[in-house]
Amino acid sequence: MRKISYAAAIVEALRTSLAEDPRVSLVGSYVLGLGPKRVLMDPIRAEFPDRIYDPPTSEAAVVSVGAGAAMAGARPFVDIGTASFSYVGWSPLVNEAAVARHMSNGTLRVPVVYHMLHGLRGGGAAQHSHSPQAMLWNAAGLEIVQPSSPYDVKGLLRSAIKSDNPTVFVNHARLMDIEGDVPEGDYTIPFGRGDIKRPGRDITVIATSFVVHAALGAAETLAAEGIDVEVFDPRTLVPLDQDMILESVSRTGRLVVADETNLNCGIASELSAIVAEHGFKLLRAPIARVARPNVPTPFSQPLEQAITPNAAKICDAVRRTMAWT
C-alpha cells in the first residue's frame, strides 16, 4: 500500500467530504498547523474557494456559528487551531453544541466538527500546549476523536463529518509528519472501536494520540527485556470501546495508561477508574498512569521534557507494574 503523511491523509478526507456533500464547509483553514505541511491545504483552497471561510479571531463566535449552522442543516468543519484557544469558545461548545440534542428531546441535530491541535509541541509553554479533551469528556454530549495514525485519521475524519452529532476532533501537531499506509480510496472507521496497535501477552498499555508512538517505542525497548507489551489505542473517547479495553486486560492482567492530558481528572484517570470498577478481578497489579503532571506547561526544553509522557516514562511504569508483587 502507498505511504502518505498524516497531514496528507487529513487533506484527502477533507477533499472527499467537500466534494461529496455541498452542505460541508470549512470555517478556518489552519487545520495542519503552521508547520511545513500546511501547504498541503493549498489545492483544497484552490478547488473550493467559496467553501472555505477564514473567520476573524473570535473563537467563541466561531464555535457558536458552527453550532447554529449545524442546527440549520449545514455540516460545518470548524477549525479552532491550537486547542488552548478552545477555552475561549468553551460556552458554545459545552453549553450549546453539546446539549442541544438532549434539550430539544432529540428533535435537533448538531452535525458540526470542531477541530483542534492539542498537546506538547515543543516550546508552546503554558498557553499553547493544552490537551482539553479530558475536560470535554467531562461534558456530556460531544463525540471525541483523537487518532494516532494516517490510516486512522482519514477514516475517522470521514466518519466525523458524516456524523449527525457534534464531534471534537483532536489532532496532535507532532503527528503531521508521521507516514503510514493509507488506501487511496474512500473509507470510514466507525466510532467506538479501538485498535490494537501492537499485540502483546504480558501487559496492556492504553495510549492515545501522539503518545501511541511513545508507547510503541517503549514496547520495542521492553521486548528486548523480555516483556511483551500490547499497545491499545481507543481512537475515540466518546463513544469508548470499553469492551475491548477489558478484553485486553483480561488477557494481560496488567495495565498502564499513557496520555498527554493532565493527571488530575485526565484520560488516564478515567480509563483507570473504568478498569478498576469493571475489571478489578482481571488485574494482577495496580494500574499505573503516565500523564502530564498538574503544573502549567513550561517553555524551556528541559522543563517541558520533564513533564512530557514519553517512551522512557512508559518503560519505567511497565517495569514497575511487571515487578509488583
Binding site: 473570535s58 447554529g68 449552522a69 440549520a72 428531546n105 452529532n165
Partner: protein, 340 residues
C-alpha cells in the same frame, strides 16, 4: 399610531398572538405560585407587541433563536400552548419531554434553533443559522431575539463582525426592556450595566443597518421587521432592530410577580385603572395599546376584541389543565437523546 399602516388581517393576527402570550404568561405565574414547577423563570409580559409583530412578519421556514425569556416567542409563533405549558411543568408531553423546562423551550418543527439561556448565546446560534442558510443557498432569514443585557457579552459583538463580513441573512432583534427596571441595587432583577448611551452604536460600528422602534407599537415593529427581512433576504447582510419597552412591574423583582392582571376593558376606560402600577397599565401596556388602536382604526369592535380575549383565556386554561394532567417523564428515559 402606526397601526393604521397595517391591514385588518395583519393587525388582528398580531393582536391574537399578543393575547395568547399575555394569558399564557399570567397562567405561568399562577402555576408557579401553586408550586407546579421549580426553577427560576422569565416572563414576556410588556413585550408582546415586539414578539407578536416580528413573528407575524416571518415566513414559515424562517429560523428563530430565542432566550430564557422564550415563552412569548414560542406562543407568538403559534406553537401548541398545551405542549409549551407541559414543558414548563416538566411533563413528558412537553415540547422537549421535560428536558428543557421554562428556560429552553424549543419547537424545532416551527423553525426554532436550540433556545439558549446563556446570555448572548442565541445571537451566536442565530448568526450560525444565517451562515447555514447561506451555505445551503436557501432564501430564508434567521432571527435572533435577545435582551439588551446580551450586548454586554463579547460573543455578540464578535457575531456582528462575522455576520457583516460574510453578509449573513440575520435579523438581530434586541428587546431593550431596561427602561423602568430597578436593578440589583434596589433588590430587583439585573438590568443593563453598560457605558454606551446607545446600543445601536455597537452593530453600527460594523456597518450593520440599524432600526430603532417603540417595542409597544405593533405597527412600528412589523414595518421595521418587514424592512429588515427585505434587506437581508437577498444577501445584503444583517439588520439590527432595537425595540424599546418599559419593564413590566411584575418582572422587576428577582422573582416574577403577577403585579398587574389584564382586563381588556381598561383599554377604553383609563379612569378605572388604579393601584401602584396604574401608570404602566395606562402608558406602557402593549396589549391595551393595541386594543385601543384596533378599535380607533376601525379594524375591530370592542366586542370582537373582548370575544377574542375570552377565547384566548379559554385556550390557555385548557393548556394549563393539559399540563397539570400530563404525566412526568420516567427516570429511565434520562439517557435518551444525548446523541443522534
Amino acid at each position: 399610531m402606526t397601526t393604521k399602516a397595517l391591514d385588518r388581517q395583519t393587525s388582528l393576527s398580531i393582536f391574537e398572538r399578543m393575547l395568547m402570550i399575555r394569558h399564557f404568561e399570567e397562567a405561568v405565574i399562577q402555576l408557579y405560585k401553586q408550586g407546579r414547577f421549580v426553577s427560576h423563570y422569565h416572563i414576556y409580559i410588556g413585550q408582546e407587541a415586539t414578539g407578536g409583530a416580528v413573528l407575524e412578519a416571518l415566513g414559515e421556514k424562517d429560523l428563530i433563536c430565542t432566550t430564557h425569556r422564550n415563552h412569548g416567542h414560542i406562543i407568538g409563533r403559534g406553537c401548541d400552548p398545551n405542549r409549551a405549558m407541559a414543558e414548563i411543568l416538566g411533563r413528558a408531553t412537553g415540547f422537549n419531554g421535560g428536558r428543557s423546562g421554562t428556560l429552553h423551550i424549543c419547537d424545532s418543527n416551527r423553525g426554532f434553533l436550540s433556545t439558549s439561556a446563556v446570555v448572548g448565546g442565541c445571537a451566536g446560534l442565530a448568526t450560525g443559522a444565517g451562515f447555514g442558510l447561506k451555505v445551503k443557498r436557501e432564501p430564508q432569514v434567521a432571527v435572533g431575539f435577545f435582551g439588551d443585557g446580551s450586548l454586554e457579552e463579547g460573543l455578540v459583538i464578535e457575531c456582528f463582525n462575522i455576520a457583516a463580513l460574510w453578509k449573513l441573512p440575520v435579523v438581530y432583534v434586541c428587546e431593550n426592556n431596561s427602561s423602568g427596571a430597578i436593578g440589583p441595587q434596589q433588590g430587583g432583577y439585573p438590568t443593563a450595566i453598560t457605558a454606551t448611551d446607545s446600543f445601536t452604536r455597537l452593530p453600527a460600528a460594523y456597518g450593520i443597518h440599524c432600526l430603532k422602534v417603540d417595542g409597544t407599537d405593533m405597527g412600528a415593529v412589523y414595518t421595521a421587521t418587514v424592512e429588515a427581512i427585505r434587506r437581508c433576504r437577498p444577501g445584503n447582510g444583517p439588520v439590527f432592530i432595537e425595540a424599546f419597552t418599559t419593564r413590566w412591574p411584575g418582572s422587576s423583582p428577582l422573582w416574577p410577580e403577577l403585579a398587574t392582571v389584564t382586563d381588556l376593558n381598561d383599554a377604553w376606560d383609563p379612569a378605572r385603572i388604579t393601584g401602584p402600577h396604574a401608570d404602566w397599565i395606562r402608558r406602557h401596556d402593549p396589549l391595551l395599546r393595541a386594543a385601543r388602536e384596533l378599535v380607533a382604526t376601525g379594524h375591530a369592535s370592542r366586542d370582537e376584541l373582548l370575544a377574542r380575549d375570552r377565547d384566548a383565556r379559554a385556550r390557555i386554561a385548557t393548556a394549563a389543565n393539559f399540563a397539570i394532567e400530563s404525566p412526568m417523564p420516567t427516570p429511565a428515559s434520562v439517557y435518551d437523546h444525548v446523541f443522534a
